[in-house]
Symmetry: C2
Subunit: 365 residues, 2 copies
Amino acid sequence: MKKKSPVRPRSAVTVSGQSLSPAALRHVTMADVAAKVGVSKMTVSRALNRSEGSGRSATLALHERILQACKEMGYVVDQTARTFSSKRSGFVAALIPALNNSNFSDTVHGLTSAVEASGLQVLLGYTDNDQHTEERLLRAMLTRRPEGVVLTGGSHTPAARNLLKAAGVPVIETWDLVADPIEHTVGFSNAEAVAELVRHLHAKGYRRMAFFGGVPESDARGADRRRGFESAMKGLCLDASRILSVGRAPVSMADGAQGVAQVMLRWPDVQALVCVSDHPAFGALMECQRRGWAVPDRLAIAGFGGSEVAASCHPQISTVAVDCVSIGRAAGQLLLRAIDAARQGQRLPAETVLAPFRVELRGST
Amino acid sequence: MKKKSPVRPRSAVTVSGQSLSPAALRHVTMADVAAKVGVSKMTVSRALNRSEGSGRSATLALHERILQACKEMGYVVDQTARTFSSKRSGFVAALIPALNNSNFSDTVHGLTSAVEASGLQVLLGYTDNDQHTEERLLRAMLTRRPEGVVLTGGSHTPAARNLLKAAGVPVIETWDLVADPIEHTVGFSNAEAVAELVRHLHAKGYRRMAFFGGVPESDARGADRRRGFESAMKGLCLDASRILSVGRAPVSMADGAQGVAQVMLRWPDVQALVCVSDHPAFGALMECQRRGWAVPDRLAIAGFGGSEVAASCHPQISTVAVDCVSIGRAAGQLLLRAIDAARQGQRLPAETVLAPFRVELRGST
DNA sequence: TTGAAAGCGCTAACAG
DNA sequence: CTGTTAGCGCTTTCAA
């Protein structure tokens, strides 16, 4: 039976007094702190993990000394070791289509703010609107054993669904009301939102309307919105066939500029153009200004998302405002409850949280 | 001396055939795979980590069988355990001011694309333009033992600098040419870029120019740009005092709209407005359209960043185009070399990589 | 090329 | 409240 010495041997390669390898240099460990203070590792561990109000003043003083020593020695807990030992990674994995889309990054903000108080870190990935990239990322993230997963939308490869099932952690799909959810959902009906927008436009007198978006195969959410356009138009006994699909998601401002030109060419009498999101709506608006088509008199334009640019441009663009941050926050709160349940060996029944949206009619219509 | 049985006992709590705790359910481990194939854990480990071209066909066949078994059993390596054992987290920490700023998220794209081939994952955090948030995040991220750190800009708390020093991993500051860099730098002189823009405007005949940005204390990068404006104006023997600072970074479109109104009020004869970034420049442009101030005839407007909106609006906004993606890519490549050196116990001498920028004069000037 | 043993830094579980 | 013991799942090291 061998005995470990309380202090690990240090073995940094040293040449003429200079450490060759600061990167490989051992970090200060809990054992070092324990040795210095003259207690066991466990006492240090407890001092670090102790929540606020505690009992005896002698204990408090000791914990104070320990924390002081940690600071002096530059000790930083090794979350890897902690994870390994406790089976809690402290990670929440989140996947969004793109970083530079403020809708989704706002959702990440909401998610982060909701979970950080519980000491959870968000491990973020972006899929570039591609299911296979999503699957690849998911595979990579799951090796980090996240305690929960937040996805955007409901379109995933079968393999991705299997991975999630096998991971056995709570899963939340956001932004869409998924038909066949993996587990929990926080979102709204994109179809219904566009339908409501169309009905508002109808009430304002618009009749000949067109829809512009990306090709449906590349963008499930955009396809939902398009369906909403179609069903609302049909419901109003209007021509629902004026639909132009160009390019892959995310549909850009430049796409919108091109799109409006094509729409006007194909359907010269169109009165209103509903765009799949604010970016192409803005591009369309600018193209109209370039060509001297008065907005909204010659053509009305509407977008989706409630982005900054839609509110800042002139005229302001009518849109469907979505509270992106609250989607993330709601997902975070739901996830916290699910993780809490999981830690106690329970499983939270699947929930669906409805996120609000609001049609905002502005100068462009 | 005790012997471990090769197969761990499973201990999921089970009630009437239903696992109560799928989240707590043990994952398939390497030992399980090894037992199934009838080899040792090490052989499985080697099969998983083996790079392409290998020797004997018998070995290759065995490795094939092992990989097959992994797939069948749904085995996923536990990166936590791997990190713990190998001292390589496979993480690169990256901190940017905000997610929803396409400049910085593009840089993250570049960084990710550069490092992912080496199996490194980017652990991303956003600081909300706040040094203390940065320090807090850094502290949290360092518990994950990243193999390298990429920061935005050169303004950090002293404590943050100490943390980085103590971490002993390569550090890269991006976007700015930092005066006193922590280690490596990938960026450009924001001051020089704005100065060049000003000189271009001067060549076009503009003389009475103003600068609009956030308050300098909240935004080191903006302050650099402002300095560039001042020095260029002085160099051209022009009045460099027309500077309006409003609000904290990030300066918004709405700030720009307000700003241009104030500028026109204070200096009614101003000919050109240089904005700290494209967002306020766009807001200013729209405000001018709202008020009927012709751009560029009554007032010319320029931005900074080369964003999509500056190129899509009408008139297009003159700007300083920055190749944000290549900043990230260059940082990633540099980091790979530094990490490689660190793994071999070496330390890469501090490097500075200059990122290119280009003044783009467009319709707004 | 393969296997056996040891241990990374921490926390769970139990004993004092 | 504190300490001791025993791993977590993998890779490193060394021996076969």
